[in-house]
């Protein structure tokens, strides 16, 4: 069995036994599962109010949910991925590289015929497989929930869009896993190892999107990108800064994939930024030297 496969397998065994990733996983799956329900409740409530308003003769406007796409019910998942999913990915990444440093098992591992890149790629592959299984399960939950809400199976086109959305989510989460893994390697203390990538995530998800936008904090919790102020210095600033916010790019990509009417533009730039974030992180990870990963913790 190749060293990469052995490391990937070991990572899956270890992930099954660790508590924090498991807790975050449960929270994530529950949130995603209820997101369709929340969408359905919103739809039902608004439709009921609309019906009563029409019956009272107070409006003749059409039901705002009449032409809504079935994928509307999955859109809250976007924000759960950016918030809980990314946090879970960081924790899993940090835990992965920190585990051997904490347990002081690195000398045993590195005395076996395994190169450092194979060791790290194996870990990443294991986590990638774990995330793929989770996202596949969540995708099935979403598909079933939407099919139940709309009283019929999701159309093949929409099913493909849903699958595409989760595929992009997998790439995004892997980028955060790599960030966590790097921090687990380079940090001298366990607390710092968690704090640094979480700070970076906060900046990417909450600070960067505000720069040059209408600076409405609530908009960050929406599953669609923040509203921009057209023209002038703010617009220019936003053009420069927005590509750096991978999470906003994910919101844009998700909106376009799931055909949200609020999101317009081309999918390619957003996808490029997300893939680039993963690629840059992976290159930094593969450039790690043997002496670096053997670095002792100061805890």
């Amino acid at each position: 069995m190749s060293a990469v496969l052995t490391m990937a397998r070991q990572e899956l065994v270890a992930l099954r036994r660790e508590r924090l990733p498991l807790v975050l996983l449960i929270v994530f799956v529950v949130m995603v599962s209820v997101s369709s329900l929340i969408g359905w409740l919103t739809n039902t409530t608004v439709s009921n109010v609309w019906q009563k308003t029409v019956q009272a003769g107070l409006t003749q406007a059409p039901n705002p949910f009449a032409d809504v796409s079935p994928l509307y019910y999955a859109r809250n998942t976007v924000i759960y991925l950016v918030l809980i999913g990314a946090l879970m990915a960081i924790v899993v990444g940090v835990t992965s590289t920190m585990r051997d440093r904490k347990a002081r098992t690195l000398d045993l591992v590195l005395s076996r015929p395994i190169a450092v890149p194979a060791y790290l790629v194996g870990k990443l592959a294991g986590i990638g497989a774990w995330l793929a299984m989770i996202l596949a399960a969540v995708a099935v939950i979403s598909w079933v929930s939407i099919s139940l809400i709309t009283s019929g199976p999701l159309a093949p086109g929409d099913s493909l869009r849903l699958a595409g959305f989760y595929a992009v989510a997998w790439v995004l989460l892997l980028a955060f896993v790599v960030l966590g893994m790097l921090s687990g390697i380079y940090a001298s203390r366990e607390t710092t190892a968690l704090l640094v990538p979480i700070s970076i995530w906060s900046i990417v998800a909450f600070v960067l999107p505000q720069i040059g936008t209408s600076a409405n904090p609530v908009s960050l919790l929406n599953p669609v990108p923040s509203a921009k102020i057209p023209g002038g210095a703010f617009d220019t600033l936003n053009t420069v800064v927005s590509p750096l916010s991978v999470t906003e790019q994910f919101k844009t990509a998700s909106g376009l994939i799931m055909a949200s009417p609020e999101v317009t533009g081309s999918l390619t730039p957003s996808l490029f930024v997300i893939v680039l974030a993963l690629a840059v992180g992976a290159i930094a990870l593969l450039a790690t030297k043997r002496d670096r990963i053997r670095g002792a913790l100061r805890d």
Partner: protein, 245 residues
């Protein structure tokens, strides 16, 4: 197949300006149990880390079982077993899960049968599905030996193997070392502080002093060469305290 298990020439390791090991020329024949002695900071662990390819030398050459460590470090890793000082495992995994991992890393595709064989050889059965986190130091050391010999290495490196063990554990480990050498013909290289263990297990010794090899000979020749000394301890202290040339 070579008769020389370990050979180093001019082996040096420096950290900045400080040399941890200087010009180590060492030859250990196959089938020996070699004990490397020296005070704390003499360079014993650095030597083992270099020989096991965990560290890259600043200069010099290393050959293990005829393989040049600079040319093919992975081949060196295939032919060696290694037990670090205070060996640690994944505490939340069982003995089997830990050993499966290290067995697979060592190239065993289906390690379970071999793991059972080794655990039986080490008289450590019945703990396969217990988590390593609940083990005593002595039990961990057994699992450590098991992971080191799973792939039937030619050369086994033990770094302070008796450190922290109770007298019973020390005796058991000594028996294991002797039987590995006798039954399986493994060359064993060990760092140790316990001179009594060296007398009971080693066939040859080396003494490191301030990063330099001050002495190397067979145990028998050493005891004969110092007729006035009662024990290896006195010989060791004499060599250690002699002025560095």
């Amino acid at each position: 197949m070579t008769d020389i298990a370990i050979h180093t020439s001019g082996l040096t390791k420096s950290y900045g300006d400080k040399a941890a090991l200087r010009d180590l020329d060492l030859t250990i024949e196959a089938g020996e149990v070699f004990g490397l002695l020296g005070h704390n900071g003499a360079g014993k662990t650095t030597t083992v880390n270099l020989l096991t390819t965990l560290l890259a030398p600043s200069s010099g050459e290393i050959h293990v079982a005829g393989v040049d460590a600079a040319v093919d470090p992975n081949q060196v890793r295939r032919v060696i077993g290694y037990l670090p000082e205070n060996v640690q495992f994944y505490d939340n995994l069982t003995t089997m899960e830990n050993l499966r991992f290290f067995g697979r890393l060592s190239g065993l595709s289906k390690p379970d049968g071999r793991i059972r064989e080794v655990l039986e050889y080490l008289d450590f059965t019945g703990h396969d599905h217990e988590r390593v986190g609940s083990f005593s130091k002595g039990m961990r050391q057994r699992v450590g030996i098991a992971q080191a010999i799973l792939h039937e290495p030619t050369v086994l490196f033990l770094d302070e193997p008796t450190s922290g063990l109770d007298p019973e554990g020390v005796r058991q480990l000594r028996d294991v070392i002797v039987s590995l050498n006798r039954d399986l013909g493994m060359t064993i290289f060990m760092n140790t502080h316990l001179l009594s263990e060296v007398t009971k297990t080693c066939t040859s010794i080396g003494i490191l002093r301030q990063g330099e090899l001050a002495y190397q000979s067979s145990l028998e020749a050493t005891l004969e060469a110092f007729p006035g000394e009662d024990s290896l301890e006195e010989i060791y202290l004499n060599i250690r305290s002699a002025p560095v040339s």
